[in-house]
């Protein structure tokens, strides 16, 4: 059974976004990290870059596969988890904690409504 915290929302392509306030934290789910296997490399945008919902914003590489990352929300990147460049294993160890990827200043609250709830996402992974 994979962890699917209820304090955030999800995208079908297995990224999550927290919904508190003006800033969203973005990462990949516990299910996604398990499917990928040992993550060995993460490529992320720079602070100040714009990302848009549904568009590619980076790449995650594991010993099994290279996968594109899709933005669950649109906005300006305000922080990037640089720890992942030296310790990509954090994505495996704590996908919802220290394995976060971006902080994004979000503009459009309506975008969150299009994301999946924890229950709906869990259903998708089962």
């Amino acid at each position: 059974m994979f962890e699917v915290p209820t304090d955030r929302k999800y995208q079908e392509s297995h990224e999550y976004a927290t919904t508190d306030g003006e800033t969203a934290t973005v990462g990949i789910t516990d299910f996604a990290q398990d499917e990928l296997g040992d993550v060995v490399f993460v490529e992320l945008p720079a602070v100040g870059d714009e990302i848009s919902q549904g568009e590619e914003f980076g790449v995650v590489e594991s010993i099994k596969a290279v996968s594109d990352l899709y933005a669950p929300v649109s906005g300006t990147v305000t922080a990037v988890n640089e720890d992942l460049f030296d310790r990509p294993e954090l994505v495996n160890e704590e996908p919802y904690g220290d394995g976060w990827m971006l902080e994004v200043e979000v503009g459009d609250d309506a975008e969150f409504d299009e994301l999946l709830s924890a229950d709906d996402y869990r259903e998708q992974t089962e």
Binding site: G37, D38, V40, F41, E61, I63, K64, P88, E89
Partner: protein, 474 residues
């Protein structure tokens, strides 16, 4: 079944000590050097070993290695055929050690051999002209695509895209990108071949070339090749042949006759020169008459019985020093000359027969057929990499795993023509024995090799890319 324990001469994580860790001797240097003081030393620590100690060191290293001289090595797409040792003898002949700057008059024999190899390869590939200069298969791809680019530019019709099937070798994507093209990926059809409708949709007036290997990466012959050539040519593009799988066609079918305009030859695959190790290698490129004026310079030609170097009129320039890696080319020449027409034909026959015999002998699903010199078996519910590790304990090298990606848990297998029936039987037994092992056994494998299970994640996260990393470790 072969049962083997590979040699180990040290602790778990160190298999044989480094020369620098063995007894050393301080060598004093006397006499003045003309070099500045900060570039010179007065003494040097060197390994102080006797000849038998040194001989043992290297023999041990060779015992801890796995090579085609140890056993079958069926890495699919790599054509790990045995390199006959007579080609080494030929390459070691002191008459071949001539400096490339010598006058043409004094190296007629060298030029004759290069000209002869250009001619052999042209005839084998159905091409009109061949350059021997590129120093590796991937360098050949790059050269070939640069020639295609030069051709389009000379026509006043520069283009921006190269089409590559999803199942292609990774080097195809890289070569096209290095040449400055956008890469358009072509999905594989349901039968594992090129889907003509998808190709029709992908070509446009921006199409510079389609890169294709035939038979393709699961050993299937692209039987629509004539239509494929028409589609690409009608759009004004060129057809590029990746010679990776030429071993299946030797003496029987020629890329030039199928409509290909440019091709590279992997002499380390098809013509038994040594594989890799960082080189030196050779990846000759063949072209049609129309493209010959763009070949790298210099090129060898014959005039009135004399051989000479000349620069093709609109040459793309040089891709390597002088005429390429001469002694590798000597080995390829020797191999082709020894086999002759009938030997080359026999090579492709046995390569295809061996792959099909092995496929019949093993208890695996093979989703795509009829295949030629290689086949993609699937490990099904098992992890192909684990099954491969298990095979190591049965005394064979495993096949290429998890590639191409459209075959689930692929085990891409190419035994080559060099294996006997007995050795193919050993290989088949190893395939089936590994598959019969429990998941726990496979996850713990290999247990009989010098190096045990490698930590792939750590290797990718913390790559140690030079000998200096050994020092940092301590």
């Amino acid at each position: 079944m072969m049962n083997h324990d590979q040699a180990r001469y040290g602790d778990d994580d160190r298999y044989e000590s480094l020369l620098s860790e063995k007894d050393t001797t301080t060598v004093e240097v006397d006499g003045k050097s003309p070099l500045p003081d900060d570039l010179t030393r007065d003494s040097l620590e060197l390994p102080g070993l006797s000849e038998p100690e040194l001989s043992r060191h290297y023999t041990r290293l060779s015992q801890m290695n796995w090579s085609v001289e140890t056993g079958p090595y069926p890495l699919g797409s790599c054509t790990m055929k045995y390199n006959p040792s007579f080609t080494e003898d030929v390459a070691a002949d002191p008459n071949g050690s001539v400096h490339p700057d010598r006058s043409e008059e004094s190296v007629q024999g060298t030029l004759e051999l290069l000209y002869g190899l250009q001619d052999y390869l042209a005839r084998i590939g159905g091409m009109d002209a061949v350059t021997l200069q590129p120093p590796a298969g991937a360098a050949g791809e790059f050269t070939g695509i640069m020639i295609a680019k030069a051709c389009h530019e000379a026509r006043g019709d520069p283009r921006s895209e190269v089409i590559v099937p999803a199942s292609a070798h990774g080097t195809n994507f890289a070569s096209a990108a290095m040449a400055g093209y956008d890469v358009v990926e072509l999905p594989s059809g349901e039968d594992g071949r090129v889907d003509l409708d998808a190709l029709e949709a992908a070509v446009s007036e921006e199409t510079a070339a389609l890169m294709l290997t035939n038979p393709n990466t699961v050993g299937l012959f692209e039987r629509d090749i004539a239509e494929i050539a028409d589609i690409v040519h009608d759009a004004g593009g060129l057809l590029y042949y990746d010679g990776a799988n030429l071993n299946a066609l030797l003496g029987r079918a020629r890329p030039g006759d199928m409509g290909f305009d440019v091709m590279h030859y992997n002499v380390h695959k098809t013509f038994a020169t040594p594989h890799g190790g960082g080189g030196p290698g050779a990846g000759p490129v063949g072209v049609t008459e129309e493209l010959a004026e763009f070949l790298p310079r210099p090129h060898v030609r014959e005039r009135d019985g004399r051989y000479e170097l000349y620069d093709p009129e609109r040459s793309i320039g040089k891709v390597h020093g002088y005429q390429g890696n001469w002694l590798v080319l000597v080995k390829a020449y020797a191999y082709i000359a020894r086999l002759g027409d009938s030997g080359l034909k026999d090579t492709s026959a046995k390569a295809v027969l061996n792959a099909n015999y092995l496929a019949e002998r093993i208890d695996y699903d093979i989703p795509y057929s009829p295949f030629h010199h290689e086949f993609a078996a699937t490990a099904g519910e098992r992890d192909a990499a684990d099954v491969a590790k298990g095979m190591l304990d049965y005394g064979v090298h495993p096949p290429t795993t998890k590639w191409p990606e459209f075959v689930p848990e692929a085990m891409l297998t190419e035994p080559t023509e060099a294996e006997s029936k007995a050795s193919l039987d050993d290989l088949a037994n190893a395939f089936d024995a590994a598959m019969a092992d429990s998941e726990e056994e496979l996850e713990a494998a290999p247990s009989k090799t010098t190096a045990r299970r490698i930590d792939q994640a750590d290797a990718a996260r913390n790559p140690q890319l030079s000998w200096r990393a050994l020092g940092e470790e301590e």
